[in-house]
Symmetry: C2
Subunit: 154 residues, 2 copies
DNA sequence: GTTTCATGTAACTTTAAATAGTGCGTGAAA
DNA sequence: TTTCACGCACTATTTAAAGTTACATGAAAC
């Protein structure tokens, strides 16, 4: 399957915005993420509607964080991008008439629901502030290391 | 993403084989699952290599279960088909140089690993015998119901 | 006010992975 | 020796994500 990387991508973008402090354009963010500006606008669209980011048109415009990083969890972000399916596997047929398949689906669904619930709970425990703190810790570790590199993207 | 239904499919096939008692050809199984015989051979190939089913060529040939249903778990079946990825979401980039992305990936991976572990543990708890029992319970329930239908596949 | 910059959005195209299908080879039973 | 059924390599189709193009809207600069 082709794995969905929108959540990973949007978290990445949000942290870069937070680091910057001032408005960043879709083009700047796209360059940082090695993707297309329209892709950025698309994935940030849901975040804007949810009130997590703000966008401004025209000169000096761009994207800014609209909330404190400590008040945004990965779960919030996941919800804002439309709750894409988390499980790579599904049932062959939904609502099958075959009783064998119903039994199989029931067993699989039970496991999938539990795993999803666990994952969402974990997402709810991690704020963007925590991610930013982790990033800063990595920065500090890298600058201390003898093989420290100057660039942030590579 | 296109969700993988091989596990669902192979479990379905195995239970039908178990119900039948005698060898079933790929064509019969394909008809029951509304798919192509080659697809059946493909998904059963791993199960044969793992020793869970046996295949016989020529007249009277076909597929049979090679172990007691109580000795095969959904986890076994999952392993036998090659442990396809369970999570629909992944990281934008593996081994990124960007420290922001490293922080994001680390947080996401932690959640994914926990969810996968839970799911696999649940799979390990469910035997094919349990699935067959569930199927028989559904059969009984249907035959008692006023809107009982004769067909098994629909 | 008009030019420039930047987002908003609706298409369309490309790409990756699952699934479906074809053809031919092999081996066993009738 | 014919028929049946699996084994396997290869190709085709399908689906959803990701990338791209095109154009409209609105705000700041001049």
């Amino acid at each position: 399957m082709k794995r969905d990387s929108r959540l990973s991508g949007v978290l990445h973008v949000l942290l870069h915005m937070a680091e910057q402090g001032e408005p960043m354009t879709s083009e700047q963010l796209a360059k940082a993420m090695q993707t297309h500006p329209v892709v950025i606008r698309r994935i940030l669209g849901g975040l804007r509607d949810a009130g997590f980011v703000h966008s401004e048109k025209g000169h000096g415009g761009g994207w800014t964080i609209a909330k404190d990083l400590a008040d945004i969890t990965m779960r919030d972000v996941y919800d804002a991008i439309g709750r894409p399916s988390l499980m790579a596997m599904g049932n062959r047929t939904e609502a099958p008439g075959c009783l064998v398949e119903q039994a199989v689906n029931a067993a699989l669904d039970t496991g999938f629901r539990e795993a999803e619930a666990l994952l969402l709970a974990r997402f709810g425990e991690v704020t963007l502030a925590a991610l930013a703190a982790d990033f800063h810790a990595r920065m500090a570790a890298r600058s201390l290391s003898p093989t420290a590199q100057e660039h942030i993207h590579g």
